[in-house]
C-alpha cells in the first residue's frame, strides 16, 4: 500500500470535511442572528398589527431587586409633633386624622398644595406620591414610595386626603410600611416594550390604544405572616380611542398582569372605630 498516497487522500478528505462543517456552522450562526432580529421586530410588528401605538419608551438602567417590609405602627411620640389634628388609630396600623382647622386645598394662585400639606401635616409625608384624585368623592389617593418608586394599590401603603365642598382639606387616612430591605438577588427586568407586549398578547389592550406613559413601581408579590415582599412592576397608562384612560400593571420580572380589584373598589379605611380610639381627648 502506498502510505504517502493514503495520507494525502486523508488530508484532502478531512480538509474538505472541515470546510463543509465550518460552512454549516457559519450558516447556523447567521440564521440564529437573523432569528433574533426577527424576534425583536416581531414585538413591534405585532403591536403595530394590533393597532397599539406608543411614544418614546423609557430606558431603564437601574438595578432592581425584590424588596420587603413590615407594616409600620404609628409611634405616639412622632404623632405628638403634629398639632391641630385629632388622631385615631385602627389596629395600630391605620391612622385617621381629622384636622381641627381646615387647610385650603389650593393656594392663592389656585394651585393644589398637596406637597406643602404632606410636608407639614403628615408623618413621613414626603414618602408619598400622588396617584390620582376623585372630584366626586372629594379625595386624593397617594402611594407610599420605595426610593422613588410607588407601591401600587397596597392598602398598607396609602394616604387618602379628603376635602369639603369649600375645597378645604378636613381629614386624611394613612398607612405605611417601615424600613424597606432589598433582597440580595438582583432581578432582570422586562423591557418596557415587553411589558406592553405582555398586555397586548393577553388581549388587555384594545385596538387603537396609545401607551402614553410607562413607569416602574412595586406591587405586593408575596405576603408572609408579618412581612410583604414587593416585586418590581411596570405601570402602563393607556389612552383609548374614545380618550378614556386606563391603567395596567405588569410584574416586571415575569410578565404577569396584575389586577388590583379589591383595593380599587374600596380604598377607604373603615371608619367604624369608635371603640378603638386610643385617646378620648383627641391628640396624644
Amino acid at each position: 500500500m502506498d502510505w504517502n498516497k493514503t495520507k494525502t487522500i486523508f488530508i484532502v478528505v478531512f480538509s474538505i470535511l472541515n470546510v463543509f462543517l465550518y460552512s454549516l456552522y457559519i450558516d447556523r450562526h447567521q440564521d440564529a442572528q437573523k432569528l433574533q432580529v426577527m424576534g425583536e421586530t416581531s414585538i413591534e410588528e405585532s403591536l403595530r398589527l394590533d393597532d397599539i401605538s406608543y411614544g418614546e419608551l423609557p430606558v431603564f438602567t437601574d438595578e432592581s431587586y425584590y424588596v420587603s417590609a413590615e407594616i409600620a405602627e404609628f409611634p405616639e411620640e412622632e404623632l405628638d409633633k403634629f398639632t391641630g389634628q385629632k388622631f385615631t388609630l385602627v389596629d395600630e396600623e391605620h391612622l385617621i386624622s381629622r384636622l381641627e382647622a381646615p387647610y385650603p386645598l389650593k393656594n392663592s394662585k389656585g394651585e393644589e398644595q398637596f406637597t406643602e400639606f404632606l410636608a407639614t401635616h403628615v408623618l413621613n409625608g414626603k414618602e408619598y406620591v400622588l396617584w390620582g384624585r376623585d372630584e366626586d368623592k372629594r379625595q386624593a389617593m397617594f402611594f407610599q414610595k420605595v426610593d422613588d418608586y410607588p407601591i401600587f394599590f397596597n392598602k398598607n401603603a396609602m394616604l387618602i386626603i379628603h376635602w369639603d365642598k369649600d375645597e378645604n382639606i378636613i381629614s386624611y387616612e394613612q398607612s405605611m410600611f417601615g424600613e424597606f430591605i432589598n433582597f440580595n438577588k438582583k432581578k432582570d427586568l422586562l423591557l418596557p416594550i415587553e411589558a406592553i407586549n405582555a398586555l397586548s398578547s393577553k388581549d388587555y389592550l384594545k385596538k387603537g390604544s396609545t401607551v402614553i406613559n410607562i413607569s416602574l413601581g412595586y406591587s405586593t408579590h408575596i405576603q408572609l405572616t408579618k412581612t410583604q415582599v414587593f416585586a418590581p412592576t411596570w405601570h402602563v397608562r393607556v389612552k383609548l380611542e374614545d380618550e378614556e384612560i386606563e391603567d395596567y400593571f405588569v410584574n416586571a420580572t415575569d410578565g404577569k398582569v396584575i389586577e388590583f380589584k379589591d383595593e380599587l373598589e374600596d380604598p377607604e379605611i373603615d371608619e367604624n372605630v369608635e371603640d378603638l380610639e386610643i385617646d378620648d381627648q383627641g391628640d396624644f
Binding site: 425584590y66 420587603s68 430591605i181 433582597f183 440580595n184 438577588k185 408579590h221 408575596i222 405576603q223 408572609l224 405572616t225 408579618k226 412581612t227 415582599v229 415575569d254 404577569k256
Partner: protein, 269 residues
C-alpha cells in the same frame, strides 16, 4: 466528650434544584452525602473547602434523582470511592451512573445504623417520589447532624429520628404562592406540593419547630428551588413561622443559607 479530637465537621458543598452534595468528616473519616454534580464541579467544590475527593471514605446516596447522583459514577470510578445505597436505589440507579465495580457497591438498608469508627450513620425513610428514598443522621460523641433535603412532608416517625439534632440540613424548597403563580406546568406544581414532593418554607419551619430542642441549634436551609424561592424569602418565611410557633431565630436557633454553587463554611456540628 473528648473535645477537639473527634469533632464532626460538615459543609453543604452546594444545594438546590440543580444539584446536592454534603461533606461530613471527623478525624478518622470523610464522607459525602449525594454527588449531584459533575465530577469536575465536585472537585472544585472540594477545593473550595481545602479537601480532596481522593480522601473520601464513602458516598451515601439518598435517592436516584439526577440532582443527587449526577457525578456518582464518575467519582466512584476515578477515586475508587465506596458507594452506599439501599437495594431499591441501587436498582433504580442501574443505567444512570454507569458501571460501578462490585467491591465498591455497598448496601445500606433503610432504618439501620452503620458505624465507621466513632461515627454512627443512621438511615431513615422519607416521602419522596423515588424508588426508596432515605436520608441520614450522623452521630458522634453525643452530637447529631440530621440531613433531610427531599421529602413531601415530615412524618412523626421522621421527626422522632431527627429531633434534638445539633445541626439540621433541612429542606426549604419553595414558597407556595411563588410556586402557584409561577411558570411550571400544573402537573409539576401538583407533584411538588404533594406528599411525595418537597416541603415549603412554612411547612419546613413548622416541622423544625417540633424537632429542635432548647439548646444551641444550627439550621441550614437547603434545596431551595431556583424558580420558586429566594434565600432572603426562605429565611424570612422560616423565621416568621418559627416565631408563630414560639421560637425566636437568633436566640438558640440559628438559621443559615446554603447556595446552589457555593459551599458553606466547614464547621463543627
Amino acid at each position: 466528650m473528648i473535645k477537639g479530637i473527634f469533632d464532626m465537621r460538615f459543609s453543604v458543598l452546594a444545594s438546590g434544584s440543580s444539584g446536592n452534595a454534603i461533606f461530613i468528616e471527623n478525624d478518622e473519616h470523610k464522607f459525602l452525602v449525594d454527588a449531584g454534580f459533575s465530577g469536575k464541579k465536585l472537585e472544585s467544590l472540594f477545593a473550595r473547602i481545602n479537601r480532596s475527593m481522593e480522601d473520601l471514605d464513602g458516598i451515601f446516596v439518598t435517592h436516584e434523582h439526577s440532582d443527587h447522583i449526577k457525578g456518582l459514577g464518575v467519582v466512584a470510578r476515578k477515586y475508587g470511592t465506596p458507594i452506599y445505597a439501599n437495594e431499591k436505589t441501587w436498582k433504580a440507579m442501574d443505567g444512570l451512573v454507569g458501571k460501578i465495580p462490585l467491591d465498591q457497591r455497598f448496601q445500606f438498608d433503610m432504618e439501620t445504623v452503620k458505624s465507621f469508627g466513632s461515627l454512627d450513620v443512621e438511615s431513615f425513610s422519607v416521602s419522596h417520589d423515588a424508588a426508596d428514598p432515605m436520608f441520614y443522621t450522623f452521630h458522634q460523641n453525643g452530637r447529631k447532624l440530621a440531613i433531610i433535603t427531599d421529602t413531601g412532608y415530615v412524618s412523626d416517625r421522621m421527626k422522632g429520628i431527627i429531633s434534638g439534632a445539633d445541626t439540621f440540613v433541612f429542606e426549604s424548597n419553595h414558597d407556595v404562592s411563588m410556586l402557584q403563580m409561577g411558570r411550571y406546568p400544573w402537573s409539576v406544581k401538583r407533584r411538588i406540593l404533594s406528599d411525595v414532593g418537597h416541603v415549603s418554607n412554612e411547612d419546613a419551619a413548622v416541622a423544625m419547630s417540633e424537632v429542635v430542642f432548647e439548646k444551641e441549634t444550627k439550621i441550614y436551609l437547603s434545596h431551595l428551588s431556583k424558580d420558586n424561592n429566594m434565600k432572603d424569602l426562605a429565611r424570612m418565611s422560616v423565621t416568621q413561622t418559627l416565631e408563630t410557633c414560639g421560637i425566636i431565630a437568633g436566640e438558640y436557633v440559628h438559621l443559615f443559607d446554603t447556595d446552589a454553587d457555593e459551599p458553606t463554611e466547614l464547621v463543627t456540628v
